[in-house]
C-alpha cells in the first residue's frame, strides 16, 4: 500500500526547473532517506508532499489525495502528513506544551485535557517533560528539534517528512534527535528524511534516494551497497566527497 506516489512530476520556480520528471513511490511504514548536493531539489520534493509547494505538472498522490487537483483541501493533507524543519520553526510566542497541543486543540478540535496528557507523554518520549513551560528561545537547538518532532507526532500523522532535521545542530546535539527519529521509525511511521546522516540512512532507512539537478538518479533498497560501492558516477563522486572531507 503506497502512502506517497509521484508520477512524472515537474516543478518550476519561474523559469528554473527544480524537479525534473520525478517518479517515486513510498509505501506505508517505509523509511526513505533522500541525499544529494544542495540545490538538487531534495527540499522542494519534500515540500511538495505536504503542499508547501505546488507541483507544476504530473501527478502526486498523498494518502489517497490528489495534490494536483485544485479541489483538494491542503489542510486535510497537512493534518495527516507532519513536517519537521531544519530550523525547527517552533511557535516563538507559545511555550513548549502549547507548541505541542495547539494542533490537536485548534485543528483537530479534540478534548483539551486528553490532548494535554498526550502532549506530556510525547514530551516525555523525547526526553523534555521538564521543559513543558519553557519557551522555544530558552531551549538548545537539539531540544527545539525534539519539541518539533513531538509537535508533529501530536497530530497522529500517517507520515512525517524531515527536512535536514540535524543540519542546524551542534554535533553533540545530533545524537539525541536521531535517537528519537529511530524510535519513531521502529514504531512503524512512514518517514521521508532529507539528511546527510549516513549512519541514520544505513541503520534506520529502508531505502535510499540520490538526487542531483532536480532528478532522481538512484532509488535503491540496498542502502549499504549504495554507500560502500555506489554504481552511479555522480553518486560515487558525492559520497567520496562527504566521506573524505
Amino acid at each position: 500500500m503506497s502512502m506517497i506516489e509521484f508520477h512524472d512530476v515537474n516543478k518550476y520556480f519561474g523559469k528554473f526547473q527544480a524537479l525534473k520528471n520525478i517518479n517515486l513511490t513510498v509505501d506505508r511504514g517505509e523509511v526513505v532517506t533522500i541525499i544529494g548536493p544542495s540545490g538538487s531539489g531534495k527540499s522542494t520534493l519534500l515540500r511538495c508532499i505536504n503542499g508547501l509547494e505546488r507541483i507544476t505538472s504530473g501527478q502526486l498522490i498523498v494518502n489517497d489525495f490528489d495534490l494536483a487537483d485544485k479541489k483538494t483541501d491542503m489542510n486535510r493533507i497537512r493534518k495527516n502528513v507532519g513536517m519537521v524543519f531544519q530550523h525547527f520553526n517552533l511557535y516563538a510566542n507559545k511555550n513548549v506544551l502549547q507548541n505541542v497541543t495547539l494542533g490537536p486543540d485548534l485543528v483537530l478540535k479534540r478534548d483539551k485535557a486528553e490532548v494535554e496528557q498526550e502532549a506530556r507523554d510525547l514530551l516525555k518520549m523525547v526526553g523534555l517533560e521538564s521543559k513543558a513551560d519553557s519557551f522555544p528561545g530558552e531551549l538548545s537547538g537539539g531540544q527545539q528539534q525534539r519539541v518539533a518532532i513531538a509537535r508533529s507526532l501530536a497530530m497522529k500523522p500517517k507520515a512525517i517528512l524531515f527536512d535536514e532535521p540535524t543540519s542546524a545542530l551542534d554535533p553533540e546535539m545530533i545524537g539525541d534527535v536521531l535517537d528519537v527519529m529511530q524510535k519513531i521509525a521502529e514504531n512503524g511511521m512512514t518517514m521521508v528524511v532529507v539528511t546527510h546522516e549516513m549512519g541514520f540512512a544505513r541503520h534506520v532507512g529502508n531505502r535510499i534516494v540520490f538526487m542531483d539537478d532536480g532528478k532522481i538518479l538512484v532509488d535503491s533498497s540496498n542502502v549499504n551497497q549504495f554507500f560502500d560501492d555506489p554504481q552511479e558516477p555522480r553518486a560515487k563522486e558525492f559520497i567520496s566527497k562527504i566521506i573524505n572531507h
Binding site: 508547501l52 489542510n75 524543519f85 525547527f88 520553526n89 511557535y91 507559545k94 485543528v107
Partner: protein
C-alpha cells in the same frame, strides 16, 4: 500670559476637548483601517495586494492638509454635508491609516517565514496561523513604531484649525488674533499639546517594556 490663560480658559479647554476627541476617533479608526490595508498588502491574492498598495502610496504621498481640505470642500459639495470637525477627523484618520498600514505590514513581514510554515504544516488555515502565531509576534514588533504614529496623529490633529474644527490650534488662532499676544498664546497652546502627548509617550514606553521584553 496668566491673564490670557484665565480669560480664555473655557475656549482653551473646549479646544483641548475637540483635539482629544478627534485624536481618539482618528486613532481607533486609522488603526482598524490601517490594519485592514496591511492585511490586503500581504494577502495571497494579487488584486487585494494591488488595491492595498495603491491606497497606501496615494494617501501617504499627499499632504495631510490637502486630504483634509478635500473632505471639507469637495465632499460637502457633491456627497453629504459635513462640518469642519468631521471633515478634519476623517482626513486625519485616512492620512494616518496609510502610515499605520505600512507599520503593521512591516511588523507582520518581520516575523520569520518559518513561523507561518510551521503553523501551516500542522494543518492550520491561513487565518488560524495569522491569529495564533503571526499577529501576537507582529504586535510586539509594532508597538514602538505605532507609538510614533499615535503621537504624530495627536500633533497632526492641529490640521482641524484650517477647516474650523474647534480644536486647540483653532482656539489658539482666535485668541492670538483678538489679544495680539501671539507669542504667549502659542506658548500656552504648545504646553497644552505636551499635556496630551507626554502621557501617550509614557504609555507607549510602558507597553513596550511590558510586552516587548516579555
Amino acid at each position: 500670559m496668566w491673564s490670557i490663560l484665565t480669560n480664555n480658559w473655557n475656549a482653551l479647554l473646549s479646544g483641548l476637548g475637540y483635539t482629544l476627541a478627534a485624536s481618539i476617533l482618528a486613532l481607533i479608526g486609522s488603526l482598524i483601517i490601517g490594519t485592514l490595508f496591511a492585511l490586503m498588502e500581504i494577502s495571497p491574492f494579487k488584486a487585494l495586494r494591488i488595491i492595498g498598495r495603491i491606497y497606501v502610496e496615494v494617501v501617504r504621498n499627499i499632504p495631510l492638509l490637502v486630504i483634509t481640505l478635500a473632505f471639507y470642500v469637495i465632499v460637502p459639495r457633491f456627497i453629504i454635508k459635513i462640518d469642519g470637525f468631521t471633515a478634519g477627523t476623517i482626513g486625519l484618520l485616512i492620512y494616518t491609516s496609510a502610515f499605520i498600514a505600512e507599520t503593521v505590514r512591516a511588523g507582520i513581514e518581520a516575523v520569520p517565514s518559518g513561523q507561518m510554515e510551521g503553523a501551516r504544516s500542522i494543518g492550520m488555515s491561513y487565518t488560524q496561523a495569522m491569529r495564533q502565531i503571526i499577529f501576537p509576534q507582529a504586535f510586539k514588533i509594532v508597538i514602538p513604531p505605532l507609538g510614533n504614529q499615535f503621537i504624530n496623529l495627536v500633533k497632526n490633529s492641529s490640521v482641524l484649525a484650517f477647516v474650523a474644527g474647534f480644536d486647540l490650534m483653532y482656539q489658539g488662532k482666535l485668541i492670538a488674533a483678538t489679544t495680539f499676544s501671539t507669542f504667549d498664546t502659542y506658548l500656552i497652546v504648545g504646553v497644552l499639546y505636551l499635556i496630551l502627548t507626554m502621557p501617550l509617550s509614557y504609555l507607549m514606553r510602558y507597553l513596550e517594556k511590558k510586552w516587548v521584553t516579555a
